[in-house]
């Protein structure tokens, strides 16, 4: 179904003597995780539709280093960062968009001290701007009457104070946006941050993603919207744990928009 995706690499741009408007940083989840790949494709469809001249690094992209840094391995983080910065600076990249708040935070806040200075935007902010500029239009018919709750990813919300862009997008869908009790700056983590995604949780009474999913399900929402591939995985697992599969869907904001636009 996605055979007609246009995904040029930065190398191809350079070969044609051109410079992309923006670099789409796909991230490891977006490249390899089956669920997250769907988010990547949905976002690319929107970029294609809006006629954005974007490039990806493809095989030249490597882990941003976020999990290494948060696991305490500063050496590995800086090795990754410096390799990536060398590639990005080599292509003269000025602006980066990414669908992963972890990559977003690391590229935006932690790369400058190592020589990587870019304008970094999260895909929800980027989509909001495309709509504001008239490059993308969405019709909400498909979601009319649906209840959507939005889960704030820690690395987008508290870490970088971005709370409104994803909500503004959801509001354009004609759906009812209902808030969980713990939202915005009080949002509860999904349990994946700080490299927890890659390890079993420490001993406790409950898994964090189940605690969060229960809260989301209790709102009566049909769809839990997220803006982070890790949160998506954690809440998808949570929905299975609370046996609401088939009743509650977990979707990225980009998927909602792409789906509304019938892409």
């Amino acid at each position: 179904m996605s055979n007609n995706l246009v995904v040029p690499t930065a190398a191809e741009f350079i070969a044609q003597g051109k410079q992309p408007e923006v670099l789409f940083w796909v991230g490891c989840s977006g490249s390899f995780d089956d669920r997250a790949k769907k988010i990547t494709k949905a976002f690319v469809k929107l970029l294609n539709k809006a006629g954005v001249e974007f490039a990806v690094l493809g095989a030249e992209e490597s882990c941003s280093g976020d999990p290494a840094k948060r696991a305490g391995n500063e050496f590995l983080f800086q090795m990754q960062a410096m390799m990536n910065i060398e590639v990005l600076n080599g292509y003269g990249i000025k602006k980066i968009v990414t669908a992963c708040p972890h990559c977003f935070n690391t590229l935006k806040n932690e790369y400058p001290e190592l020589g990587g200075n870019y304008e970094v935007v999260h895909h929800t902010s980027f989509l909001k701007d495309l709509i504001a500029d008239g490059k993308l239009t969405i019709e909400g018919g498909k979601f009319k009457g649906k209840k959507i709750t939005y889960h704030d990813p820690c690395y987008l919300g508290r870490a970088n104070d971005i709370y409104e862009a994803p909500r503004e997008l959801i509001e354009k869908l004609d759906a009812a946006l209902i808030e969980m009790k713990r939202s915005r700056r009080n949002g509860l983590c999904c349990g994946a941050g700080g490299a927890q995604m890659f390890k079993e949780p420490e001993e406790g009474d409950k898994d964090i993603n189940v605690e969060r999913t229960e809260e989301a399900v209790d709102t009566g929402a049909d769809i839990v919207a997220a803006g982070c591939p890790f949160c998506n995985t954690m809440i998808t697992d949570g929905v299975k744990a609370v046996e609401k599969e088939g009743q509650v869907e977990v979707m990225d904001v980009a998927e909602l928009i792409a789906s509304a636009a019938d892409l």
Binding site: T9, L188, E203
Partner: protein, 451 residues
Amino acid sequence: MEYIPNIIFTVLLIAGVGFFASNIKKMIRNIKLGREVDRSDRKGERFAQMARIALGQSKMVRRPVAGFLHIVVYVGFVIINIEVLEIIIDGITGQHRIFAPFLGGVYDFLIATFEILAFLVLASVIIFWIRRNVMNIKRFIMGELKGWPKNDANYILYFEVVLMSLFLTMNAADFTIQQGVLSGQFTSEAALHYINAGSFPISGFIAPLFDGLSFETLHIIERACWWLHIVGILIFLNYLYWSKHLHIMLAFPNVYFAKLTPKGQLTNMEAVTKEVKMMMDPDADPFAAPDASEADEVPAALGANDIFDLDQVQLLNAYTCTECGRCTSECPANITGKKLSPRKIMMETRDRLEDVGAVINKEGEWKDDGKTLLNDYITPEELWACTTCNACVEACPIGIDPLSIIMEMRRYLVLENSAAPAELNGTMGNIENNGAPWPYNQMDRLNWSKE
């Protein structure tokens, strides 16, 4: 003979303030055991932040009930200190209500304000006590608050109750004497010393209890309350150093020096940057002799094993923490029953810092006691439960950053001890070998576009 009270008062005042100052000097010495950190930037923003969060209590009121009650006690504390100033001057000079002649009607208004505030403080403190001891609010009855921390919190409340009660009783006795003088009932020289000043909207209700008492009895009550009140304040001042209550002073510098960069931005380790740059520089000489200027330097530990490896702002954080537990009550790990409690991280850091300080007090210098903050106070299990979500940092009403301490200790575990959990070692191995946390080939990163 006439000046004996003045002399006793002055000696008590100097001793009280002096002992407190000497303890604060020790506290500053302890804080300076930490690494230096430059927070001399963005002064305007720092002052604005201090005005908003510390002075303006903007984060306290995010929890409206506790926030409102806290503002009452805070405003009461600050304003009633004007009266303490008068009491101190009276004590030194032997005057009574020395401000009254200068302020006239304003003085009556001020005393009335103090009385109303004292009453509100009393009421708030009683509600605080009920919240803490009766209402089973989780953050007040958790494990780390058992024993001294719980008693400490209650002692502070008892101090406030006693001080406010003494202040109001003193005014009631004073008021009754003034009435007696006005009606011509009390005519002795000592009674005339009680000038007609002040307005007593609260203690006016206590005064009827004193009806019919002789001037001598009232005089004793008034003086006893006066002395106990000021001595109580001096004791309370000195109690601060041993208590979580230091926040009444430290909240201001703590908020001033708090991190201004985005919460998600962790610090960059310069020492590592230097090494990595050398490793990645194709022209670097791997056998080069170290720079002579650096040859004598003991390389600092990477990350934090003990309080010496933390920075001074982190140690100030530890002294500033009031153990309110808002951080812990928002922590996803703690909510789901993990051992981690951000409040406990701060309490353990302070305990360790004070234990180190006690050795220095005794020995004159630091002598290794065989313990470290990591493992002896804070366990790796607590550290590895953190999701770095910043909920604790967001929750703290006075700008404490428990996450930064957790991160420094994780760094030590991984960089100095290679003691990451096994699964994370696998993850890091993957990142190192194929540029992703999972074992996928980097060359396949674009496969999704063709699927």
